[in-house]
């Protein structure tokens, strides 16, 4: 019984990053639109924060195949073409991996700034893909407002991420 429970915990711990990313995608699809003065307030793209946080703090947590698969699910739920969100997820993961040595051990504000820069690099990719699919140059403002909202929302998600990580670490018995 105890062994089964331990095995279940181990499975949950290993699949936690994928579950977190999938839940964040489903939350993005939830009908939570705040209207203010007749305009829709841009909602943050939570999966981008989750992909970034795992790439920085737990690089082995999200395998590229998992990130790609959940990105494709996001594209399918989003209803548009398949590929744009998946490619943005992968691009962010790649950017973080390529700068991992620099990011290691940095204070929170530096990592937050790095997230903003990663989105600044990923945004043109997304814009280019969407423009290509629309066969015209789309306005960049909707994209920047939504990515801007994502950057502003980063500390809240990061706080949740660190809290859960600390709790999980406390549950692991010392060897």
């Amino acid at each position: 019984m105890g062994r089964n429970l331990a095995a279940l915990r181990q499975i949950l711990r290993l699949s936690a990053p994928a579950i977190a990313l999938l839940v964040s995608v489903l939350l993005t699809i939830a009908p939570l639109q705040i209207g203010l003065l007749g305009l829709i307030v841009p909602m943050p793209v939570l999966p981008l924060i989750i992909v970034f946080l795992y790439a920085v703090y737990d690089p082995s947590g999200l395998a590229p195949a998992v990130t790609f698969s959940i990105g494709v699910i996001h594209d399918l739920l989003y209803g548009g073409a398949i590929g744009p969100w998946a490619s943005v997820y992968i691009a962010i993961q790649f950017l973080v991996y390529s700068q991992r040595e620099y990011l290691r051990g940095r204070v929170f504000h530096v990592i937050w700034l790095a997230f903003a820069l990663a989105l600044l690099v990923a945004a043109p990719l997304f814009w280019l893909e969407r423009s290509m699919l629309a066969e015209r140059f789309l306005s960049v403002w909707p994209l920047f407002s939504q990515f801007g909202a994502t950057v502003l929302f980063y500390p809240a998600v990061a706080w949740g991420f660190f809290s859960l990580r600390d709790r999980a670490a406390a549950e692991v018995p010392a060897v």
Binding site: P31, Q33, I34, I40, P64, A81, I90, Y97, L138
Partner: protein
């Protein structure tokens, strides 16, 4: 530092480097794969395999989305309440004025109904078949920077089909684009991919049709109207109403859409009647042209089963 510790650290570093290399290769591979999927989508986004995949994913996540929808709608309602409270006085004035107008319209409608009934009897007119309505709840809403779509809690098992109009209590909200077994995706009028054939009504309020037009959604801001008729008797003015034209055969003619909100530099923007910001309960209009039906029943849109 002992020799053994140095060996362990070196081994760990080698393993980390190997893992890093594998990850990097995987990322390049999946990035190339996702970009090639985008390119493939360019030529086949509406291919049946993609549509099937979208419908399957919608159906699979429908129960989870339905669970998430409850709290999300609650938050939306509280946010709307807070905003209503802040503009209570203005809202009261608006309602008073609207009530006066509505009383006047009510008298006109009664008179017109009597006339219509009389002329129908005289001419033995065969009215278009009545539309059938399917009630549904908005359980999902993908609001990306360039596309916006809604997910409904009704699908093929409820007789929802691609192209069906979706309305709320005020007017047209959008149309169905993907149908799963238990869920369906709706493209709202505000989405940049939305194109709806409409009719522009006379500014006199007599219901006369003055021009055919196309309502085009934008990724940001109100939808715009492209008026087809080059020789309009009168210029397009603010406040003119627009309704569906019924062209295409999936939507009934005459569903209210909204009114012209601004005409600037040749660009005509439309204020929609439907609540496209925080929709909750909606109706799918199951409508078929009489030519598609054997022994079509007589009736009219908005009869006993109407909105």
């Amino acid at each position: 530092m002992s020799f053994l510790t140095m060996v362990v650290i070196g081994d760990n570093r080698r393993r980390a480097a190997a893992q890093n290399e594998r990850n990097r290769f995987g990322l390049v591979f999946y990035f190339a794969l996702s970009v090639s999927m985008v390119v493939f989508s360019l030529y086949g986004a509406q291919a049946s395999v993609f549509q099937k995949a979208r419908a399957t994913v919608l159906d699979f996540f429908e129960p989870v989305l339905a669970v998430f929808a409850g709290p999300a709608h609650w938050v939306n309602a509280r946010a709307a309440d807070a905003q209503e409270f802040l503009r209570l006085h203005d809202e009261l004035e608006r309602l008073r004025s609207e009530n006066q107008d509505l009383r006047q319209y009510q008298d006109e409608v009664r008179s017109l109904r009597r006339q219509l009934s009389y002329f129908t009897d005289v001419n033995e007119t065969h009215m278009p078949p009545a539309a059938h309505y399917i009630d549904a709840r908005v359980i999902g809403e993908s609001a990306g920077p360039y596309n916006r779509s809604l997910v409904l809690s009704a699908g093929a098992k409820d007789q929802v089909q691609e192209g069906h109009a979706v309305i709320d209590e005020s007017g047209l909200l959008g149309y169905v684009s993907v149908v799963g077994e238990r869920a369906a995706r709706v493209v709202p009028l505000t989405d940049s991919t939305s194109r709806i054939p409409v009719v522009l009504l006379s500014p006199n309020g007599d219901g006369a049709e003055v021009a055919q037009a196309l309502l085009t959604g934008r990724s940001a801001g109100a939808p715009v109207l492209d008026v087809f008729s080059r020789h309009l008797e009168a210029p397009v003015v603010e406040g003119q109403e627009i309704v569906t034209s019924g062209a295409g055969g999936m939507m009934p003619r005459g569903i209210p859409i909204g009114e012209i909100s601004a005409v600037r530099d040749g660009k005509v923007t439309v204020r929609l009647d439907a609540n496209t910001t925080t929709p909750n309960f909606v109706r799918v209009v199951d409508f078929r042209f009489a030519t598609d039906l054997d022994g079509a029943k007589e009736g009219a849109l908005g009869g006993q089963d109407g909105p």
